[in-house]
Amino acid sequence: EAAVTQSPRNKVAVTGGKVTLSCNQTNNHNNMYWYRQDTGHGLRLIHYSYGAGSTEKGDIPDGYKASRPSQENFSLILELATPSQTSVYFCASGEAYSQNTLYFGAGTRLSVL
């Protein structure tokens, strides 16, 4: 069974602080994605990656950085967290060359106070 693990599951941060959300996948998938979910918007794409060392901007990248140091790990970094970044964040992995079925982690609930 494909496995995507996110940590932490819940996080409270202060405005202006640095937050790192981590994602690990054991699927050996090339593609990994970060989405955020807010009421009324569905899931919106922040950053994604096609493999170790690569990161691409999604639709709402401002205020976020991404890091893909290895095939298994993909991090989302908020250098200066703001209350508008309070949301639920989902990480997903997918295959590159066959059907790109997304496998999701359980999500991280982030509150920025």
Binding site: N31, Y33, Y35, G40, H41, G42, L43, R44, L45, Y48, E56, G58, D59, V88, F90, G94, Q99, N100, T101, L102, Y103, F104, A106, G107
Partner: protein, 108 residues
């Protein structure tokens, strides 16, 4: 505009009823996926389609790339079908984009 438009935003059914959800795409997509988000917030994959139609129990999904839409049909709705349903579509050389979701409530 948004690449993926999903309708309706909300849907209420009685147990045993049939209904359908639809996603329209602003551009040609190479594939579509459908997910159910349960009450715990977990995203469950229902279907992946690159073309045509797939069925799984009481669920059936169709993807027409040329006409730029996909549908999810629920037959004989059950209480456990309640949740939010999302489609996500992928264009060539691009990452999957999601619709805004359909919140389904099944009533006894």
């Amino acid at each position: 505009g948004m690449p993926v438009e999903q309708n309706p935003p909300a849907l209420s059914l009685y147990e045993g009823a049939d209904s359908g959800l639809r996603c329209n795409f602003s551009t040609t997509m190479k594939s579509v996926q459908w997910f159910q988000q349960n009450h715990r917030g977990r995203l469950i994959t229902l279907f992946y389609l690159a073309q045509g139609t797939k069925e799984n129990g009481r669920l059936k999904s169709t993807f027409n790339s040329k006409e730029r839409y996909s549908t999810l049909h629920i037959k004989d709705a059950q209480l456990e079908d309640s949740g939010t349903y999302f489609c996500a579509a992928e264009a060539n050389n691009n990452a999957p984009r999601f619709g805004a979701g359909t919140k389904l409530t099944v009533k006894p």
